[in-house]
Symmetry: C2
Subunit: 249 residues, 2 copies
Amino acid sequence: MTVPQPRLQHLQCLTLKLGLPADAPIAWELLDRALTHPSASCVNYQQLEFLGDSVLRLAASELLQEMYPDGTVGEFAALRSILVSDRVLAELADGLGLERYLLMSTGAAGDPAGRRSRLADAFEAVLGALYASTHSFDLVRPWLDPLLVPRADDIRRDPALYNYKDALQEWTQAQHKSLPEYRVRAAKVATDPSSRFTAEVWFRGNCLGIGTGPSKKAAEQAAAKAAYTTAVVADTQSSGAERPDTQHS
Amino acid sequence: MTVPQPRLQHLQCLTLKLGLPADAPIAWELLDRALTHPSASCVNYQQLEFLGDSVLRLAASELLQEMYPDGTVGEFAALRSILVSDRVLAELADGLGLERYLLMSTGAAGDPAGRRSRLADAFEAVLGALYASTHSFDLVRPWLDPLLVPRADDIRRDPALYNYKDALQEWTQAQHKSLPEYRVRAAKVATDPSSRFTAEVWFRGNCLGIGTGPSKKAAEQAAAKAAYTTAVVADTQSSGAERPDTQHS
């Protein structure tokens, strides 16, 4: 199955935008599939997204260890969870204008709620297609690293820019293979709307953090932030024989 | 930092056992570290295990897609979760006699409860060290694939050999990014001991499966098995335009 000429030219524009050379050994059929939403064809990006998810995790793991040779595993896990989140991937996909290349049905295109996850999925699928083209990172890391490096630095400087619940969950899974539990209650008496909800985050029988917010979600994020910045940072520093110089913002 | 001669010779025996050529470009210092438990040194396998976990996931993802070109993403995710479980990795590590190469304190060595996870961790760390030696799978897949292929076939033929809770969780996370919930109750009246506990597994407001067993754990596994073989297999087959020929055992 070959890729029709107009589509091929369109995909070539994208790879030039990624900075890949015009004669790069790209499997165009795979790249075409990576940018085909399930609503457009039964031959779509799902398999490549599955592969690309692993490609991204390995690329991010290697990159983070190269960037922060003194980092701890807990810190890497938390950073990576944010880097590979749908939110960040959708932002990176937006920066590349990936949506213009994505084939989908008009119905799917008209669903704004699914936009973030379909951009993230397509981004991972593109990683999968380029990895599978050479069975190496040769067509991936040259353009992926420059996108991830400033993000990783931003997150490390100020994790509050991102999602503490994801970061905390990644840490508890990496360290203890289980998940934290959130308990939320609404204030029973009239109160400042900004602290209408109070959330506690529990893990292995301990309350790791408490937070308040105007919504359940916001209160959970605040609790996760408290837990992350105490428990995770404390853990990171106590295992710090290898890294006495590490600092968290 | 160089590796002392007797340790180096010992590690060379291991790589020959893996079938790697005597002149393979192995970073011996990394392999030494991959086989050093945290109880033995602050320079230990933790960082390499983090990397190796991603190396393993990508190698397994690629291998499964090569082995079963008609498989669905749900099926791959479930198979991979079992392949990369501590149980399977510890068995593979045992098959290689990895424990004989693992430096650790006498105290840690005398802790049988931690044996499975430390073997699995060391196995992943070895993958990390060999991957990092060349930044490629050249020193990994030649010996890893032959270990994983028969396992993957076994699991696919009879997933009951393995852990249905893990498989179900991997599937719900891959498909819906959330976890199933188990509700267990003990029989209130005298009953056959083999069905003393009943577990239900709930996911997104639906009970996916019910199971009984002599312990809470066994009941949960039975419920997960019921859920896996109905919900996951049904999902796999309904998205089967690409794979009308796929069968589950």
